[in-house]
Each structure stands twice: as structure tokens, then as C-alpha cells.
Assembly symmetry: C2
Homo-oligomer: 216 residues x 2
Amino acid sequence: PREFAVIGLGRFGRSVAEHLEANGYTVLGIDLSPQIVQSFSTHITKAVALDATNEEALKLVDITSFDTVIVAIGTDFESNLMTTVALKNLGIKRVITKALNRRQQEILLRVGADRVIRPEFDAGKRLAEELSAPAMLEKLHLGAEHSVLELRVPKSLVWQTLAQTDLRNRYGVTVLVVKRADKLLVSPPADCILQQGDILVVLGSNEDIAHFARLE
Amino acid sequence: PREFAVIGLGRFGRSVAEHLEANGYTVLGIDLSPQIVQSFSTHITKAVALDATNEEALKLVDITSFDTVIVAIGTDFESNLMTTVALKNLGIKRVITKALNRRQQEILLRVGADRVIRPEFDAGKRLAEELSAPAMLEKLHLGAEHSVLELRVPKSLVWQTLAQTDLRNRYGVTVLVVKRADKLLVSPPADCILQQGDILVVLGSNEDIAHFARLE
Ligand SMILES: Nc1ncnc2c1ncn2[C@@H]1O[C@H](COP(=O)(O)OP(=O)(O)OP(=O)(O)O)[C@@H](O)[C@H]1O
Ligand SMILES: Nc1ncnc2c1ncn2[C@@H]1O[C@H](COP(=O)(O)OP(=O)(O)OP(=O)(O)O)[C@@H](O)[C@H]1O
């Protein structure tokens, strides 16, 4: 799909719209406020002022030509909800809606939102995760039970070979990549000596990764 | 560090506090509003109502015993700014502050915030990235120039061996792991046949990863 519609040009909505445009997509921005539409119209393909709870108004801008619409109306939950319902009534294939809390999230999913995002809640969770594992740089989840973790090499492993660290037996993690300055060592050999400043990319079960991430 | 203080118990602040507690840390929550403090006091170690722009009030709760304080006061930028300044004046080692936009971010960094987060902006960017690469499940950045991407195997590669896909030459990406149902194949062999439903973990430069992510 080459085009997206974003309804509600608050901070979250504007960010979605701008980043999609930056990735080469066509974005239609919709907001109740003409001033907001005016100030934003230079940033995206097209922006129109209308009340998105109004199905007729949505039809006028050909909303059904979009298969994904993002609803980013925050404070006014009733409008957020009514817009989501209107979009599903019009047959929009994928409606992604923002919610402020879990109660709102449940209601939106019940009325047909395909996905509900809580930006502040997610951002808080991410920050907490980063603060909890200070050596950790980034993490991705691989299925429900495993993770790939990027972290600075723990001090206690520096100057050992990978074989000596015996990570798979001691911690249950596999080293996929060692990044050393600009060099990437993929599937590094057993005699690879870990150095100060190395960045490791490791794979393991979530539990093993959590333990390994706290190594000093 | 086993303890954190979170000032401003809005949605973002509460989420940071709750997730840190869930990870076993001690959290002191601070908010201007006694009702908010009251309702939140069951969720975290301790919560107190005070005006965080007041250095004397901060000293009374022994704020200097924390080496990381998160400032999550959103709407009232002046309070957000004054609290950040007060904390740095009191010698707090790491102050992480929330900002609503880039202008605020610049000002906060200038007065000494060690890190500034824009939750709604970041969440919008993440959603846009996900929508831009639909096969992509997760991504982590490895240095400034490389990424590790997790994605569903593109249809066009199914039934080919890794050798046949020739990914390193055609797309510049290396397959680190193939996840097949619950099995993880690390550093899979060249004769590994890709199957429908496989999940790939690949490494490459940001550019190569971006192209590969759009394969059908
Ligand atoms: N019925 C409606 N139709 C179209 N746009 C609407 C409607 N109701 C509200 N909006 C718009 O939605 C936008 C976002 O709403 P609001 O600012 O309340 O959300 P927010 O959650 O505070 O935003 P953010 O946190 O993303 O900055 C506003 O610009 C507002 O004009
Ligand atoms: N001077 C202050 N001292 C302590 N707490 C404060 C002060 N000023 C504001 N707060 C608190 O900060 C909290 C968060 O502020 P606010 O709700 O404006 O932010 P927000 O950005 O809308 O929050 P979120 O988006 O995270 O829900 C409020 O609960 C408010 O009581």
C-alpha cells in the first residue's frame, strides 16, 4: 500500500504522518482544526479540515481508498471511538487507533479497531527496560520465548576468548555478532578474544538474556 | 543502582515507575497532586505529594540519594524545566526529562538534562517504521550504520536453499538465525531450505536492510 490516512494531527499523529512521508508514502492528514491543517499542509501530501466522526465527510475525501487509517485523536475519547467505528462501518481494512489507557484500549478493540497503541505507556515501558539493563543497548524479541540482545561486553569477559567465556553453558546465550569499532565479526570463532569496547549481539531465551544482561 | 525517583505521575511517568518496580527496583514517585499520589501509592514503593520545582521540598525527601531521576511533567513546561534545573543544581547524576517537542528538547538539554525523551514523537516514528516494512517484525540498530532485522521470510524466497537465495551478494544481508515454529537454527547451513512461516533474523547495513525488508 502506498498511501495512508492519519486522523488527528497531535504530536503522535504528526510524527506518524511525517515519518511515513519521509519513507516515500503518500499521506492524507485530517484534523478538526483548520489552523492545525494549515500549519501542517506543507509537511505532507495533503491535509484537510473535517470532523472525522462524520461518515459523510469521510466519504467526501474518499477515505475508502485507504486500506490503513491511523486514528490519533487523544483527549476526546468519544471522538476517537466514533471515528474508529465510522471507519470500520465504511469498510476500512486496517484501523490503528491510539488509546490513553487500558480501559480505552479494550473498548476500541471491542468496536473493531485492528490495533490499539498506547504511546506514553509503551515509551515508559521502554525507558524502564533500558534503565533496568544498563549494559543493554537494544533488544528484539524472537517469538514469545527468545530475544536477541545487543550490549556492551561485560568487563568480566574482556580478554577471554569466546571459548573461555563458555557462554552457552554458563548463561545459555549464543554470540551471533561481535562489533568492534566499525568491524562486524559474524559467527565469531571460538578463539576470538573479547576486547574492551566490543559490542555483542547475543541470542537466548528471555530468562537467560535477562540474566546475562546484568553481568558486570 | 537499585532505586529511581519519578517526578510527574502522568501516563508516561506512571508507566516508567510501574515497570521499574516490576523489574525489582525501588521507586519513589513524586507528584504535585495528593489525589494522584494517593491513587498511585499502592503501585510503587513510596509516593509523596510535593512541588518538585522547590529544591527544599526535594531535599526533604532525600532526592540526592538517587543517582537517576526521571522528570515526566508534560503540559507545564515551566515546571518541567525548573524541576530539571533544580535536580542538576542538587547534583543529581542522571536526569532524564520528557519533552513535548524539539524546541523543548533543546532547551532542556541546554540546562543540563542528561537525556530528553519525546514519547509521542518516538511512538509515531516506530509505528511509521513498522507500517513501512510490513514483513518486518522487529529491528535493532547495531552502531550507526547497521541493523539486525527480524522479518517473515519473503514469499519469493520460500523453497530455495540459503545458497540459492544468495542473499549476501544480491542484497548484502547475512542470515543469522532462522526461526521455524519453536526451533532456532543459528548460523544455518548453506543447504538450509527456507519454508513458509519461517522467521529470519538478518544483519546488514541500514540501506541493505531497508531494501531487503521490502522484498515480497
Ligand atoms: N472529531 C475530530 N475529527 C478530526 N480531528 C479531531 C477530532 N477531534 C479531535 N481531533 C484532533 O485530534 C488531534 C489530537 O488530539 P489531542 O491533541 O487531544 O490528542 P493528544 O493525545 O493530546 O495528542 P498527542 O499526545 O499525540 O499530542 C487534535 O489536533 C484535534 O484537533
Ligand atoms: N511542579 C510539579 N511538581 C510535581 N509534579 C508536577 C508538577 N507540575 C505538574 N506535575 C505533575 O506532573 C504530572 C504529569 O503532567 P501532565 O499530565 O501535564 O503531563 P502529560 O504530558 O499530559 O502526561 P502523560 O502524557 O505522561 O500522561 C501531573 O500528574 C502533574 O500533577
